[in-house]
């Protein structure tokens, strides 16, 4: 039995290229035969005796020269340059271990931070339970995930709260060109940073955090249904605070709310990607 490309070793969608010719999204389950039309088995598939089968539950996505299945569920599978939200789970003398929701804990070496740290001083900077925004730097065949905190919009997260959603829903939360996260931020006044690993950091008033959490849950549960943007907007309108002094005013956009940076790819929802970092650090807590 020969496997195709290993899932997670190949950047989804970033290679460019058009979205699948037919806009139709086909759900496949493990063990189901896939019409390969001569394409090679890609991530999420395997081949036996000339036939290609799905190995994971997901959406069928022919990307010549391979046919692949984009998973709809499961843990976060890291890709290089993903920006993710992690929680410190262990402190060693020269590195920390981060839970980024991936199959393995990711080591963050002290040289991968903006701080000048002596060996053994790591626990003065980050402790177990602290939240950070980091970028996936390297992936090794052993499964080791190297991450770094050096870079724009990376660093320790102070204040706020973290909401978990399915990593498969991240493109929905971000929206085309960041439209969805913009909308949510504009309506609530909250600061939002979406990690590719499905962890969303939210900061703002308690009311804003609650509304953002509700919206994220809505997207998480109904992300594959159509008309999502309308439902999100109608929810946000219906929960608008009555006092006008609430952090609702659109003119605050771009001032208190930090600009978000997006990269994204055209194509269907399952393929688009976006990295959104938090704003500059040290923003005032609520």
């Amino acid at each position: 039995m020969s496997r195709g490309h290993r899932p997670g070793r190949r950047r989804r969608g970033r290679e460019g290229g058009p979205s699948p010719p037919s806009g139709e999204r086909v759900l496949v389950l493990p063990g189901e035969e896939i019409p390969s039309h001569g394409l090679k088995p890609g991530p999420g598939t395997y081949r036996v005796g000339g036939k290609v089968f799905a190995s994971v539950l997901g959406l069928l996505s022919p990307r010549p020269p391979v046919v692949q299945v984009v998973p709809l569920s499961g843990r976060y599978i890291p890709h290089p340059d993903d920006v993710v939200v992690g929680i410190v789970t262990d402190v060693q003398t020269t590195f920390w271990l981060l839970d980024i929701g991936a199959p393995r804990w990711a080591p963050l070496h002290m040289t991968g931070t903006p701080w000048k740290i002596d060996v053994g001083e790591t626990d003065r900077y980050l402790r177990v339970g602290d939240a950070v925004i980091v970028r996936v730097e390297s992936l090794e065949a052993t499964g080791r995930i190297g991450v770094t905190m050096n870079g724009e919009r990376l660093g320790k997260l102070e204040g706020g709260t973290i909401v978990h959603i399915s990593p498969a829903r991240v493109p929905r939360v971000v929206g085309r060109g960041g439209s969805m996260v913009d909308t949510i931020g504009r309506h609530t006044g909250a600061k939002i940073a979406v990690g590719q690993n499905g962890r969303v950091w939210v900061d703002g008033s308690p009311e804003a955090i609650r509304r953002v959490s509700d919206v994220l849950r809505l997207i998480d549960e109904e992300g594959q249904r159509s008309g999502l943007t309308e439902r999100v907007e109608s929810y946000l309108r219906s929960t608008r605070p009555t006092q006008p002094e609430g952090p609702e005013a659109p003119e605050r956009e771009g001032s208190s709310r930090d600009r978000v940076e997006e990269e994204f790819e055209s194509g269907d929802g399952a393929e688009e990607e976006s990295d959104v970092g938090p704003g500059p650090e040290g923003s005032e807590p609520h």
Binding site: V48, V56, R104
Partner: protein
């Protein structure tokens, strides 16, 4: 087997060829599967099969605990099958016993033969099967639940793993035994099928059957597994139903 103060052995097969609950010999008990029944787990499923109620949760791939079990070239698959104290008529003494150890082992090994474990070296895929109510065939119900939970958890594998027990009751080969048939019948033969390849990855037998009966039992079981397979797929399709993406202005 008759215990002390043995009760009457019930009539398991009517002259018309119907079973104790009115089923035909090749008829399954009603099966209902709900994929994604739990929130915390990476994948989960709840199965009601006849009077069986089984919950399965899958975590991982994740860091291995205890660490010395870690394997450098693949994920380890750890399975725990457990029966609730209230799952049977008499209180079941809680905790691991020899029976649950055996079942955990054979179910774990069945999944080892279908999961692409080499994709996640040095990790663990943990399967928890909790039997809440038992009425014979719980290892098969547990397997079915765990298999749907694995798919729900996005674990790559060759195929789903439908499972069913075939047995011999009142001299006849019958599909999917219920408790009385299991207790008073002549044989019990649980099996798990890989539909894609037609291979069996779990096969056990208790009691006695002739070679000819065994062959017929295997045929019947494989047919039963194919029906169960459809129900499993249906459960996953319902959970991950896609609506057309029209009207999406995002």
């Amino acid at each position: 087997m008759g215990s002390v103060g043995a009760k009457e052995v019930p009539v398991l097969l009517s002259p018309e060829g119907l079973r104790i609950d009115g089923r035909k010999l090749d008829e399954l008990r009603p099966l209902r599967i709900q994929a994604g029944a739990l929130h915390q787990a990476d994948g989960s499923a709840f199965v009601e099969w006849g009077a069986n109620k089984v919950m399965a949760a899958v975590y991982g791939p994740r860091e291995v605990h205890p660490r010395h079990l870690q394997q450098n070239d693949k994920a380890v698959i750890q399975c725990r099958y457990n029966m609730a104290a209230f799952s049977v008529d008499e209180r079941k003494r809680p905790g691991i016993d020899r029976r649950s150890q055996e079942i955990s082992k054979v179910i774990g090994e069945a999944f080892e033969s279908v999961v692409f474990a080499e994709e996640f070296p040095r990790t663990s895929i943990d399967i928890y099967i909790e039997v809440l109510q038992a009425n014979a065939g719980t290892r098969c119900a547990g397997l079915v639940a765990a298999s749907v939970a694995l798919a729900d958890a996005g674990i790559p594998m060759v195929d789903l793993l439908p499972a069913v027990a075939v047995g011999k009751v009142g001299g006849a080969i019958a599909l999917d035994l219920k408790k009385e048939e299991d207790n008073y019948g002549e044989a019990d033969l649980p099996m798990a099928l890989v539909p894609q390849s037609g291979r069996l990855v779990l096969l056990q037998m208790e009691g006695h059957m002739s070679e000819d009966e065994l062959a017929r039992a295997l045929d019947l079981g494989v047919k039963g597994c194919r029906d169960i397979y459809e129900t499993m797929k249906q459960a996953l399709r319902e959970r991950y139903a896609i609506e057309p993406a029209h009207g999406e202005s995002a």
